[in-house]
Structure formats: structure tokens, C-alpha cells
């Protein structure tokens, strides 16, 4: 990986969003990933979503593990602090960061090797704890950075570029996240920006553990016939459960929908998620139903995408800990150090 700064030429035609930023302000350095890598499309979707949400870039902290996917945070939100941690352990670092300052937006970026292989434990536990974050898995079914070994999300029977057939069953991170207690679980495809961008926006506005499992083909090692994570395969087998429109509290609702096909879900922060049903019997608020549905689709050879599960009013980690509203990292000495008098009392109790 080399470090190439993107020229900061401000194009006069670049429009500003309500927060006063242009699209450029949400970009990072030029990507050094392979041309056509799905991960770059996801980065672009993140840039798009943050721009449209009018987020101040520095209010986002982006954290990742190790892998091609985990390099991506360098390629978006260049004005945000970033942290490339160690392989598979981003969730714990993100949890700690969130404990220190509950006011920022935490964006965790990981790969399928990072999350489903070496980091499966931390993946499960960060969901259990309900850490308020957006967790994006750039899922290509292989270890890109170490050149094409199967990861734990590779489907049984899928073929590697070198012709090996995967014998182990796959871990479905979306189903696992639902089981573990994540409150916003979606799956999408790096090649489907219209589906992906609203999902990212909705995930950011979600006030709990939000995870996006994004199928993201690796053009170098997993885009051949026999792979179940290739562009062609996913385009053919993508089965969207719903389409999401993300509506902020203030905007008037304009589009018309046929009655009975739309559900509006109000979130904690006043935003609304408008879901257009595509699968007749799919209800994302029904946990058990969602899990069953994902399995049925998988058995039929389809990849269920869309908003798979949502609890719009989640309880986050801080609520359980009853922490003060002010970020812990902002508390002054007086709020932390009990002082001499208290110590004299403690001493007296120890005699």
C-alpha cells in the first residue's frame, strides 16, 4: 500500500450539502486496491451516504482490522480519525472508543476473514453488547490480502481460483448477528448502489449495533466460475427482501406507494425508514421469521438481501452501563478525582 494524497482541487461545480461540505470532503486518499475490487464501490457508497446525511466528517471515527477491506477506511472520510487495528480485533477497539466518547459516529470496517475467521469471537460479542456503531463487512469469501485462501464465509462446494473445493460450511454473518442481538442487520451487494446507500444511511442513524454484510467480489482471487461470491453469481442469485428509503425527520414524504406495500418505521433519532416490500411474507421485525427466511432462501440457492432485521428502539451499551451523558473523555479532574477528604475517610475505614 502506498500513500497517495488525492489532489484537493475544489471544483466550482461541486455542490455543498446542508452542513457546508462537498462530496470531496468525504473522500480519502486514492485507493490502492485492485481496479474493480468490490471494496472500492462500498467506500464510494459510504462517501455518498455521509454526504447526503450532512455528517460533519470529523464526527466519524473509522476503525478496521487487517485485510484489503480493512485498508478501505484510508480511502474515504479523510478528515476523520482512523484506526487500522490488528487482525480480527477491531470490535474491541471500537467498543473502547465508543465507551470513551459516546457522541461520535463509529464506523467499523472489516472483511470476512477478519470478522468470520480470526475475529468471530469479537464479532459476536460486539453485537451482543449493542455497541452503537455501523459495522460493515466487505465480504468476498476469501482472504484477499494473503492471496486467495478460503475464508469462513465461503460456501461449501464453492471453488477457489486454483480449483480447490471448499469442504467447510459457511458462516452467515447476518444470521449470526441477528442471533447475537444486533438490532439492525442488512445484507447488500457492492454492485447495487441503489440498495446499499440507503441501507448505510439508515444504519448510521440507527442508535445501536448495526451491521451490513456486503457481498464484495474480489476480482483478483474470487471472481471466477464456481465461486459463489463473484459479480456474475451474485447478480443472478440476489434476492432482495425489500427496498429501503431513508427519510430524515424534517423531510416531507413525497413519493406515492400502492397501499399495503409500504411500512414506515420511526427510529430513536426521529428518522423514518420506509420499507417497500419485495418478498410478500417478509417481516424484518420478526427475528425468528427473518432467520428462517434467510435459511430458506439460502437453501434455494438465493442470497437474501435488504434490511433483514430491525429493532428500531434498541438499548445501547451506554444505557446498560448508565454512563453520564457527557463523553467520559471530556470529564474534568473534579468529576473524576474524589480528593483528599474522601481519602482520609477511606484510610479511617482501613484501620
Amino acid at each position: 500500500m502506498t500513500y497517495i494524497a488525492k489532489p484537493k482541487l475544489h471544483h466550482p461545480a461541486l455542490t455543498h450539502n446542508a452542513a457546508g461540505f462537498t462530496r470531496r470532503d468525504y473522500e480519502g486518499t486514492i485507493s490502492t486496491l485492485c481496479a474493480g475490487c468490490g471494496h472500492d464501490s462500498i467506500s464510494a457508497a459510504i462517501i455518498h451516504a455521509c454526504f447526503e446525511l450532512n455528517i460533519e466528517p470529523h464526527r466519524v471515527a473509522k476503525l478496521s482490522g487487517i485485510g484489503c477491506s480493512s485498508k478501505s477506511p484510508t480511502y474515504f472520510l479523510g478528515n476523520s480519525h482512523g484506526f487500522n487495528t490488528v487482525h480480527g480485533r477491531m470490535p474491541s477497539v471500537l467498543t473502547g472508543a465508543n465507551l470513551a466518547n459516546r457522541e461520535l459516529i463509529y464506523l467499523g470496517v472489516s472483511g470476512d476473514g477478519d470478522s468470520a475467521s480470526i475475529g468471530l469471537g469479537q464479532f459476536a460479542h460486539v453485537m451482543r453488547r449493542g455497541v452503537n456503531m455501523v459495522y460493515v463487512v466487505m465480504n468476498n469469501g476469501v482472504y484477499g490480502l494473503t492471496k486467495g485462501q478460503f475464508s469462513a464465509t465461503a460456501d461449501r462446494g464453492s471453488k477457489s481460483k486454483k480449483g480447490a473445493v471448499n469442504q467447510d460450511s459457511a458462516i452467515d454473518l447476518a444470521s449470526l448477528a441477528i442471533l447475537m442481538g444486533a438490532t439492525f442487520v442488512a445484507r447488500s451487494f457492492s454492485g447495487d448502489k441503489t440498495q446499499l446507500v440507503p441501507l448505510i444511511k439508515a444504519a448510521i442513524s440507527h442508535q445501536g449495533a448495526a451491521i451490513l454484510d456486503v457481498i464484495s467480489p474480489c476480482v483478483a482471487f474470487n471472481n471466477h466460475a464456481g465461486s459463489t461470491k463473484s459479480y456474475d453469481y451474485i447478480r443472478e442469485h440476489n434476492e432482495a427482501m425489500n427496498r429501503l428509503d431513508f427519510i430524515t425527520g424534517q423531510e416531507p414524504i413525497t413519493a406515492d406507494y400502492a397501499p399495503g406495500t409500504v411500512t414506515d418505521v420511526l427510529q430513536h433519532d426521529g428518522t423514518t425508514l420506509r420499507l417497500r416490500k419485495l418478498a410478500e411474507d417478509y417481516d424484518p421485525s420478526d427475528k425468528a421469521g427473518a432467520l428462517a427466511h434467510i435459511q430458506e432462501r439460502a437453501a434455494a440457492g438465493e442470497v437474501a438481501t435488504g434490511l433483514l432485521y430491525l429493532d428500531p428502539l434498541p438499548r445501547d451499551l451506554h444505557e446498560g452501563l448508565n454512563t453520564v451523558a457527557a463523553p467520559l473523555n471530556s470529564l474534568p479532574d473534579e468529576a473524576l478525582v474524589p480528593g483528599r477528604a474522601a481519602l482520609v475517610k477511606i484510610n479511617a475505614g482501613l484501620r
Binding site: S80, G82, S92, G96
Partner: protein, 621 residues
């Protein structure tokens, strides 16, 4: 006949200076009675130093409680036992063997024992404890619990411990539970009365006499003190995974925070404690929190450190503060979970792959656990690197008499070099790994500081001064050398060693650290009495202060006393200071029990060829 005195040896006679050991079965409720015994003596103004020797088990295995009674204030283990209170048939033979010639054995004589079960050079005091209990209490649980209190009553009679002090402790313990208070007092008196009526006066020559040797000292466990140090040091995030002997650090942190860190109006917490899924996650959380500007710590022991090493390397290389309280236990692997050692020096000092060096602090007692834990949080922020507080089970899990905690009202937390939005707006240049001040310590910013300035990317890969990814040799070398310079700077912030010099300069010196300190104090006195006064220096931190090198240079031979097999501190001294290995002699104690004064005296005097003279001073006078 409750007393059998086998007169082949004069019974040991001592006032305020003896060792009593209780042999019990784990989970039998003996712990609180034993603790009362120690505290009652303390309340009579006589220092005591109790130690739990316990198994990694909840119920059924042998456990011991050793109390050093010491008017001189020797709080280490002396070695040897003057009276054994043998309540565990499982360990009878071993317990009997440990008693000093002329010592005492107290046992439950309900079931008669053949004379062959005893020794002929000790005084045997048999009390039918079970029989007394069975005659007094119908309830099985009561029989068990009050047996310990009756035994306490017997001991208080024998040692002449003032019963009013025990009763006062009862009333503190059972405030508002008058029935419990009364029944405990009754059990105590049952024991006292039995001893009065059945044990001849003049049987026991070990006595406690009221003294004034405790002063304003406090009696506290090191783990609790470390936790309080973290509260005073401003820690707001604690992430941990349970492991003996460190667990009580976090339990104490939780209970102190409950009292001291809740908003009086809203009841909200000004701290967060997360029990992580493992030590990888707990150190990850600490690093994430500290990266984001909170003061964070974890408490763990050897196996936890092993799991944390990859992250420790990240924190070192990416320069993120972290405080690790390592309550050391016996290793390697699961080792001896409930025994003490100082065997994680190397694994902490050089933790993780690549070239790393970490700051270690070595507290000697709870007072320093408090001081060093608070200091570690400052040091971590100041130096932007992991700081290890290297305590151990002996200090952490035993009540120890120490100086009261102090806090300077004018002290403010040192949050290190942090650039704020105002600094950035004022035009200060920010380069995350720029050595602006020449001390190797760069400036950092916290996430969310400024809309357009001061953001950077933190990574465990190599980088240039501006935090840009770089594999260029010169960038890497510059960075690694700056980290060394920073480690040199750490010397000026870390606690300095403390020298105890002999009245006239001695040819040989002794270096020691941590929980060896109290036994060393006694050993040095004994050696001096035996005509072998030694200069001594207690090392309190790594990197080693320059005065450590000077101390070694100024002596022909230097003993390094440690509680591990391989002489880890000695290796570090050779590695870091470049001393001639032939000059420094390792004195190693590593069986999992706390080191004793006798052990140190014997090892050193053997080297000095002073065996006879030195050991003589250890025999009871």
C-alpha cells in the same frame, strides 16, 4: 488431658514476635475467624502480617493462613512456624513437620490420637472443639461456623489477646444484627472458658502485649489499593476478564466507583466497566478508549498477558496509552494460579513481536499499588505507551499493613501532549509522530477535535512522521530510534529506586523489587547483626534509572533477589545496563510461596561464607 508437653526442648517463649499458622479446609468458614485473630492483635497496637495460602478450588482442598506477629514491623514472611493450629487431617503430617523445635501444636482432640502422631519436641494442646460444638449447637452449620470462633476464644486465652478487642470487631461486623453478635460472643467465651479451666497456666509462652507500633497505618489488600489508585488516577474505562489473582482489582474498582463516581443528582456513572469476552478484547477496549482520550486500564495475570501481546505491540508502535495491572502468579501456562511469583518481567518488558520495550512499575506494598496505579495512568498519557504495574498475589490478595494513602489536593492529572482545536486554529503544526520537543514524545489529537485539521490515521504498520503509511527504511529507522529516545525519557518520569545503605560502605550490594521488600528489610537487619551489613537498593521501575548502574558499579558483587526461576531481572540488568554477568549473583525463590527473610539470609550468607553467624541470629533468642 488437653496438654501434652514433651519436654525434650524448652518451649519457645516470645512476646509480640512469633508465627502462627492455621491449617484449614477450603470453604469451612475458617477465613473470617482467622482474619479476626489477626485484626484483634493489630488493634492491640502490634503489627501483624497475615498471608492466605490457598488452592485453586472453591471447597474441600487444604488452605493455610499464616500470621506473622511482629512488634518490629517485619511484614514479610520470616520462615518457620511457632504455633500450628492444625484443623485439617489431610495435611496433618506436613503441618506437624513445619513446627519449630520447641513450638506448639493446637488441634481438635475430640477423636483421640496415638502418641506416635505427635512430636516429642513440641507442646501439644488438644481442645475437643467438635465435642464442645456438638454439645452446644444442634444445627450442623452452626457447629461448623462456631467451631472457628471457639478456637479463636482458645487462642485469645493462650496468647492473652484482649477479648474486648475481638468483641469490638464483632460489633463492627454485626452492626444491627444483635442476635449474631451475641452468639459470636458466646462462642468466643466458650473457647476462653474451656482453655481457662483445662489448659494449665504457663503452657503457652507466646504472648501478645499491648504496644504502640501500628500508629496511623492502614490494613488493606494491594488489589483494593490498586483499584483506588485507578479511581484517583482518573480512570474512566476498565475492561477485564476474570483471572486469579487479579479479579479483586476490578471488583474493588467497581465498589469504589459505586461510592465515589456516580453523579449525585442523576445517579449516572462517570466510569464504564466492561467484562470482556477474553483478554484480547479487554486490552483492545483499553486501547480503543485511550486512543479516544479516556484513561483506561485492565487488570490481569500471566496467561492474560500472553493473550494481550499482539495488542501491546500495537499500542507501543502506534503510541497509544494503556495501563495493565499485572497481579503475577506462578507460571508458565496455567502454572500455579493461587501462588505468588515475580515471573512475568521478561514477558512484559519485551512483550510482542519486533523490537519493543515497555515501562514496568514494581510496587512493594498496597501503598505503592495505590501510588503507582495512579501514576501509571499519568505515565501512560505522558509517554503514550503501555505501562505495566507489576504487583503479585502476595501483595494483591493479602491484607498488609502500610502507610495511609495520600493525595495532594493540588495535584492535577497529567493528560500528556494533546493538541486541541484551539491549538490547531492557532496554527500549530500537527504531525502525529513529529518529535517537536526533542524528548521522543509526539503530540496527539483525539477523534472529533476539528473539522478540517488534526485528523490522522493510526496504524500498526510503519509510517512517517506525519502518520502516512511508509515502508521507507529511513522513516522506519527514525521512528524506531525516536521510540528508544522516548523510553530514555521514561526514566525521568518513572519512580526512582530507593537505596538503603549500610552504615559504612559494603563490598557487596543487593538489588530487589516488589513483594520481596518486607522480607528483605528483616533479612538485611539479620545480616547486619551477623556482621554482614549490606548496601541494598530497591528497584521501582523499568527502564532502570542511572543510579542502578552506579550502584552495581560501586560494589564488587551484587545479589539480585527475585521470585522466579530464571533470574529475569538479572537478565534485564545484563541486557540493558551491560553489567558483567559474573558480578551479579541471582538469589532465586520460586516455589510459589512468598519469599522469607530466612531464605534470603541463608542464600546470601552462604555466598559470603558467613553461614554460622548469620543463621545464629535467626534462631530464637
Amino acid at each position: 488431658m488437653p496438654v501434652v508437653n514433651m519436654h525434650t526442648r524448652t518451649p519457645i517463649a516470645a512476646i509480640n514476635d512469633f508465627v502462627v499458622k492455621f491449617a484449614n479446609v477450603n470453604g469451612s468458614g475458617s477465613a473470617s475467624a482467622n482474619e479476626l485473630f489477626a485484626r484483634a492483635i493489630l488493634r492491640m497496637g502490634v503489627p501483624v502480617s497475615p498471608r492466605n495460602i490457598f488452592p485453586s478450588n472453591i471447597q474441600g482442598l487444604p488452605t493455610w493462613f499464616e500470621v506473622r506477629v511482629t512488634e518490629k514491623g517485619y511484614l514479610g514472611r520470616r520462615g518457620g512456624v511457632d504455633m500450628m493450629v492444625a484443623m485439617n487431617p489431610q495435611t496433618w503430617a506436613q503441618d506437624l513437620k513445619e513446627i519449630e523445635a520447641g513450638g506448639y501444636l493446637l488441634y481438635d482432640s475430640t477423636r483421640p490420637m496415638p502418641a506416635s502422631a505427635f512430636r516429642d519436641d513440641i507442646t501439644v494442646i488438644g481442645i475437643p472443639l467438635t465435642a464442645i460444638c456438638n454439645a452446644t449447637y444442634a444445627d450442623v452449620r452452626q457447629r461448623q461456623l462456631f467451631k472457628n470462633i471457639i478456637c479463636l476464644g482458645v487462642l485469645s486465652w493462650l496468647f492473652e489477646i484482649e477479648p474486648k478487642e475481638i468483641e469490638r470487631l464483632f460489633s463492627e461486623q454485626y452492626k444491627g444484627k444483635e442476635a449474631l453478635l451475641a452468639s459470636n460472643v458466646k462462642a468466643l467465651n466458650l473457647g476462653r472458658d474451656y482453655a481457662r479451666d483445662n489448659v494449665a497456666t504457663g503452657t503457652c509462652h507466646l504472648k501478645v502485649r499491648r504496644a504502640d507500633a501500628v500508629g496511623d497505618m492502614i490494613f488493606v489488600e494491594g488489589n483494593s489499593a490498586a483499584a483506588l489508585g485507578c479511581v484517583y488516577g482518573g480512570a474512566t474505562v476498565c475492561a477485564w476478564y476474570p483471572i486469579t489473582p487479579s479479579t479483586s482489582v476490578v471488583e474493588a474498582f467497581q465498589s469504589y466507583c459505586k461510592k465515589l463516581r456516580h453523579d449525585p443528582e442523576t445517579g449516572e456513572a462517570r466510569y464504564a466497566i466492561v467484562q470482556a469476552e477474553d483478554e484480547l478484547a479487554s486490552i483492545g477496549m483499553v486501547i480503543g478508549a485511550a486512543w479516544n482520550g479516556a484513561r483506561a486500564f485492565t487488570a490481569t495475570s500471566g496467561p492474560g498477558i500472553s493473550l494481550m501481546t499482539e495488542f501491546i505491540g500495537l499500542a507501543y508502535f502506534a503510541e497509544i496509552p494503556a495501563v495493565l495491572i499485572n497481579v503475577q502468579r506462578g507460571g508458565p501456562s496455567t502454572g500455579m494460579p493461587t501462588r505468588t511469583q515475580q515471573a512475568d518481567l521478561l514477558s512484559c518488558a519485551y512483550a510482542s513481536n519486533g523490537d519493543t520495550k515497555h515501562v514496568l512499575l514494581f510496587p512493594e506494598d498496597p501503598k505503592e499499588c495505590f501510588d503507582f496505579s495512579a501514576a501509571a495512568l499519568d505515565l501512560a498519557d505522558r509517554l503514550q505507551t503501555p505501562i505495566f504495574v507489576m504487583t503479585d498475589l502476595d501483595i494483591g490478595m493479602n491484607y498488609r499493613l502500610c502507610k495511609p494513602f495520600e493525595w495532594d489536593e493540588n495535584r492535577s492529572l497529567d493528560r500528556g501532549k494533546v493538541m486541541t482545536a484551539e491549538d490547531l486554529d492557532a496554527g500549530k503544526t500537527f504531525g502525529r509522530y513529529l518529535d517537536v520537543d526533542g524528548d521522543g514524545i509526539p503530540y496527539r489529537t483525539f477523534p472529533g477535535t476539528h473539522a478540517t485539521k488534526g485528523s490522522y490515521f493510526t496504524r500498526g504498520t510503519s509510517k512517517n512522521r506525519m502518520a502516512g503509511y511508509s515502508e521507507a527504511g529511513p522513516d522506519y529507522v527514525e521512528n524506531m530510534e525516536r521510540l528508544l529516545k522516548k523510553f530514555e525519557t521514561a526514566k525521568t518520569y518513572a519512580p526512582a529506586p530507593i537505596a538503603h545503605l549500610a552504615p559504612s560502605p559494603s563490598r557487596c550490594g543487593v538489588l530487589y523489587f516488589g513483594s520481596t521488600a518486607p522480607a528483605m528489610a528483616e533479612a538485611l537487619d539479620n545480616l547486619a547483626e551477623a556482621d554482614a551489613p549490606l548496601d541494598a537498593m530497591r528497584i521501582r521501575a523499568f527502564p532502570f534509572a542511572d543510579s542502578v548502574a552506579e550502584f552495581i558499579a560501586n560494589h564488587e558483587q551484587v545479589f539480585v533477589v527475585e521470585q522466579n526461576r530464571d533470574g529475569q531481572l538479572r537478565s534485564m540488568l545484563i541486557n540493558e545496563i551491560g553489567v558483567d554477568p559474573a558480578k551479579i549473583i541471582a538469589v532465586l525463590h520460586f516455589d510459589g510461596t512468598p519469599i522469607t527473610a530466612r531464605f534470603i539470609v541463608k542464600a546470601i550468607s552462604t555466598h559470603l561464607g558467613k553461614t554460622d553467624a548469620a543463621t545464629k541470629t535467626l534462631v530464637h533468642s
